[in-house]
Structures are given as structure tokens and as C-alpha cells.
Symmetry: C2
Subunit: 362 residues, 2 copies
């Protein structure tokens, strides 16, 4: 075996092929085992970033002076551990290293140092929830059966506590999308509007509409424990007097209305086509004629492999739900039409990998 | 919070920034949360590739015709699961997709389809060993204490069965290095030589020397269960009559000798500096005067953050050993000199991320 004249080309800079700050990419069709090994080791990247966030390392580096000793003291950690972790984070592009001192890169300074208002470090908590990650250890079995190994409906089982964690920790990821979504939904209307926010979570999307339009009233639906987070956020935003909640399942709770608009954010992807259509029918019944439904979704192109982040989200739905998916626009449009909506349009959010899909009750 | 005018730029093609086949990279200093989210989701890449290997998907795709239905039948898996997994593998660069049919990329055809003699798919078994991966779930704690959460010496505890798995499954990764290592160690010598192979594992390195030089005799040291794999490989290679084994710890077993050369492959990185020096002294004592020791190692540059794959290996040693590391050449040279070696030279292996560090007993 050892004399096999295999044409293995294994560049010593293997890992950099998968790294965003790498200058030299090679053609996709030049075979190299580097991609295989990079991928088999990719779980370490997630572990390293999570550990750094848990240790509050990006604050420690950001405050300087950036030598191993002072970072280790601020993080209450060993110098050996800090040195190796910081080197690894430098390789990934989260830190820079000059003369043995580390500094946050622009990305880390803005999105990982807790002193930045745009910090998204808290999202590591939800994205690292064992319930959402564990199924990936059984992914071959999930591919065999075509559904999550979690019981029942998976992550969308009633009162699942992961959605409380979602409400607490994912707001910073969703916040940049709230303003564009609000504009799309309000569509210039300035008068009194009544808006239903289904699967409200942290509530930011409905709250943003109440902020953009002082005559807007918002009704939020989610599990009771989740709505506590949304109510707190509504109080902080000063819109609590126009913010009402309806605890329960989006499929069972009485919506009331009729509404001018309904938000369906990060929700349809958890369910199969018939379930989505049934929900959209219920939504349509709660809308005024001409009212708008707006779903915030990962919407891959029709090829289902681009853009990468939206398309890759299908795997999370395979692993954690019974029958969810990242639906293409044509699939969503079909659902909307079957549920009685017209004028279905897609609005990609420029600052995010998400798309808002709007339909009008006809 | 939602009205925060944060400058988040989140390109809809986020994932591609971390993907090797991506055409458009952006400057490292343009802040984007995409790298953060790519990294928090990176564990899914490992899970997807492992699942595909477990399902024998690359053979199924390679044999064609590549539609979801026929791949699902060959893999005894659901069409939904196969479709989503194949799309994800396409995003990562392992498959291509044309008109709904999948094909192996050049990398997968050569390194993941079991019909290829260069297939390295078996390495997923060792690299996915729970004992080696579990510690990464406690990485913050490991950084705090500076050592693995595994008991004792971690992965190098006596008779650890992971090294049997290593011997069985890692040969395809190591095989391309055997011929260059053999040439470096033999250094043109054609007469009778006696070679000691410490931590022999699969035995490929010593066996290759026996193949390159018909007058070479090889003595292999490793745990008894591991040596069974090496002996089987020596038989298959037709060199069993010149292949002897000494079961036990490299630190305790009587080496015999004197030897013309000693191989120390993938071994020094598990231990701290004083332990490496002690072992090298023992090696030197077993060498003829002028004899050579050759260590196969991941050797990062002095900056410890390049080349990426060699430098990143430090994190694996932090997570799985008590005090191991990926040592720089200057660190290794110091160890060699302290142990009585001279003429210390580094020989990067062109087809691999590894380097052979040679010293001469003086």
C-alpha cells in the first residue's frame, strides 16, 4: 500500500483553502485531500469560537494590551490554553497576531467584542443548544429515515424551551433585519394598522413596526414563556401600551383581527408543504381583504445550492424537524396561492441572508 | 435595540466566504458577521461528511446516474434526506449538481469514493473517535486549566484503544508520506541497515523502508494490540521476515540496537518539552554513532499561525493531551540538541502538511 503511486497533492497550506482570509485559492477541480481533512476537523472551529465567547476572550483582547499573560489573567485561564486558542483564532481570521500580541480583527471588534452594540456573541448560546446540535451526531440515521431523531415534531414540539433561549440570545442576529422588514410590511402606510406577529420570539419584528408607525398596534403569538421575553423587549422599546400577546400554538390560538398585516418570521421552514398551506389559510382568514402576510425565510435559489447560507439551512431543518425545509421562492409562492394569496413577491434583505416573501389576501 | 443603526454587512452569500471553491473573497478587514455564523455552524460540515461516508454516498454517486432516487436506493436512505445532504455537499464542494443530478467532484472521486486507491474516507473513523472529539465540548474548561479533560496523559494513556483505530483507519492519510520519509531516512544507503520504528501504528513507515532497501531490518515499538495491525501490514507487504516487534511503552521498552536510524512518527507532539528530550536521549542511546533520528511532525512556522493546517494542530493537542503541542522547528532543534543530536534539519514533505525533522547522533 505504501508504494502506491497515488497522485495525492496535499498542500502544506491545506487549511487555508477553506478560510476566508486566504489569498490563494486553487481551482475547484484540482483534487486535494485538504478539503476532506478541513471538513473532518471543521467541528473544532465551532468549539474554538464558542470557548472564546464563553471565556469573554474578545473583550479581553479588545481591551489590550494583547499579550498572552494579560489575556490569560483577564480570562482566568492558563497561558498555554490562551496561547493555543488565540493562535487558532488567528488562523480562522478572528484575531491578528503581531510580534506575539493579539488584536481583534474588524469582524471580531464589531461582532464579537461585547463592548460593541452590534455584538452577536450571544447567538452562540442558541446555535449551540444541545438539542439542536445533538441530532447532527446521528445524521446518517436522519438521512436514512428522512426526519429528525428528536421525538415528535422535533424542535417545534409544544412549549420547547429552546425558543426561550432563541428569544433571549438571537435578537442581535435578527435586529439588523427588523428595520427593513418593518418598511416592507408597512409599505408606506402611516395610519392606524393592526399587525399580528406569529412566532414572535424576542418580539423585535413587531416592536420595530410599532416604532416605525406610532399608530400601529401589535398582537404577538408564541409560547407563554417566550412571550415574557417579547413583552420585556416591548417595555424597553416604549411600545408596551400598543403590544398585546396571545400565548399558545400558532396552529391553535384564536388570532382575532382582522389584521392589516401578519408577520411569519423564521417559522414556515419548520413544517411541510401542507402544514404551511393550512397555516397560511388561517392567516388569510385573519387578514383584512388586501392585507399582507410577510414571511422572513432563508430562500435558496431554484437550484437549492445557492446562495450558500440560505441553501445550507435545509440541513438544519432535516436534522431538527420532522419535515421542514428551506423553501425556494417558487415553492413558497405555490403555498401562498393555494392559501388564497396573490401578488406574491420576494424582497431579499440587503444586510442579511434572509428574504421577505410578501403576499396579499385576495 | 431594533433601531440600532449598526453597520452589519451580511452578504447573502455568507457561507461562501469560508468555502474553498468560492470565487469572490472580500478583504479580511471588511467586518461581516458571516464569518461568525459560518464558524458557529462549522460543526455541521463535519457531520455531513461523516454521514455521507457512513452511507457510502460517494460510491453511490460515483456509480451514477446521480439522481436523488437512485442514490437513495443505493444508500438505503430516504429521498428527502439524500436530496438535502447532497445539496449541502454540493455547497461544500464535494459534489456538483447539474439539472438535478449529482456527480463527485475531482476531490471526492479521488479521495472519497472507495473505488479509488487514494480514498481516505476511512480516516473519518479515527478523526471522529468520540474520545478525541468529546474534549472539544469542554474546550473553555481546557483553556482555563491548560490541559485535556481526559484523565492522566489523555490520548496517550497506556494501551489506549484509539491507537488501534488509528492503525486501522489512518493508513491512507499517512501512506503518501511513507515514500518521501523512507528516502529521507535511508539517505541513499543501500547496505544492511537496522531501523527502529517507535509508535509504529499501522507500520507503514518502517515497512516502506524495508521495501526501499531489501537489506533493511525493522523493529517496531507500539502497544501490543496496535502491533497486530503493523504485523499484518508487514505480511501483506512481503517484508515480515525482516520485521520484528517490541510491544510496550516507548518510554519503558528495551529498544535493543544499536540502530542505524530511528523513526518517531506522529509522536513527539503528544508530550511536553522535558518528556520529548528524555525520549530523544533514550533514542540516541540506541543509535550507532552518526545514526539518524527522523521525526514526522506538524511543524508550524515560528509565528505559530502558519501554515494553517500544521499550526491548527496545536488545538488538537491542547484538547486531547496533558501537555502536547505542535512544535516549531526551533523548539524541536533545541530538544534534539539537548538530547545529544547535531546536524538538525527540516524536510517538508511536498505532498503533505507534515515535516520530517532529522538529527544525527554525535
Amino acid at each position: 500500500m505504501s508504494s502506491d503511486p497515488r497522485p495525492a497533492e496535499f498542500p502544506s497550506s491545506g487549511l487555508e483553502r477553506a478560510l476566508p482570509h486566504s489569498p490563494g485559492l486553487r481551482p475547484a477541480e484540482a483534487p486535494s485531500p485538504a478539503l476532506v481533512f478541513d471538513t473532518l476537523f471543521a467541528y473544532q472551529r465551532t468549539a474554538a469560537l464558542r470557548a472564546a465567547i464563553e471565556l469573554d476572550l474578545f473583550r479581553a483582547v479588545g481591551e489590550g494590551p494583547g499579550d498572552v499573560g494579560s489575556i490569560a489573567r483577564r480570562c482566568s485561564a492558563s497561558e498555554r490554553g490562551i496561547r493555543i486558542l488565540c493562535d487558532y483564532l488567528t488562523i480562522l481570521g478572528f484575531l491578528s497576531k503581531t510580534d506575539g500580541r493579539y488584536a481583534n480583527t474588524a469582524t471580531s471588534a464589531m461582532f464579537l467584542d461585547p463592548r460593541s452594540p452590534a455584538c452577536v456573541a450571544s447567538t452562540a448560546r442558541f446555535l449551540g443548544t444541545p438539542e439542536l446540535q445533538k441530532p447532527f451526531e446521528s445524521l446518517a440515521e436522519i438521512v436514512r429515515t428522512g426526519r429528525t431523531v428528536l421525538p415528535g415534531e422535533g424542535s417545534v414540539e409544544p412549549e420547547n424551551p429552546v425558543w426561550v433561549e432563541f428569544a433571549h440570545s438571537m435578537a442581535p442576529m435578527m435586529a439588523p433585519m427588523a428595520a427593513p422588514l418593518g418598511s416592507i410590511v408597512l409599505n408606506g402606510s402611516e395610519g392606524p394598522v393592526l399587525v399580528l406577529d406569529i412566532a414572535a420570539g424576542h418580539g423585535l419584528f413587531g416592536i420595530e413596526i410599532a416604532r416605525q408607525n406610532p399608530q400601529a398596534r401589535v398582537v404577538a403569538v408564541d409560547w407563554a414563556a417566550v412571550l415574557e421575553v417579547a413583552k420585556e423587549n416591548a417595555r424597553e422599546a416604549g411600545v408596551a401600551d400598543r403590544y398585546e400577546t396571545k400565548p399558545g400554538s400558532a396552529f391553535e390560538v384564536e388570532y382575532g383581527g382582522p389584521y392589516d398585516a401578519v408577520l411569519l418570521t423564521n417559522f414556515l421552514h419548520h413544517f411541510d408543504h401542507p402544514t404551511c398551506v393550512a397555516l397560511l389559510r388561517k392567516v388569510r382568514a385573519a387578514l383584512k381583504r388586501g392585507g399582507r402576510v410577510a414571511a422572513l425565510e432563508f430562500v435558496p435559489n431554484e437550484d437549492r445550492v445557492s446562495p450558500p447560507m440560505a441553501a445550507a439551512f435545509s440541513l438544519t431543518m432535516l436534522a431538527t424537524t420532522a419535515a421542514g425545509d428551506a423553501y425556494t421562492f417558487s415553492e413558497l409562492r405555490t403555498m401562498y396561492r393555494e392559501a388564497g394569496f396573490g401578488d406574491v413577491t420576494a424582497h431579499p434583505i440587503p444586510t442579511a441572508p434572509h428574504t421577505v416573501v410578501v403576499g396579499r389576501a385576495v
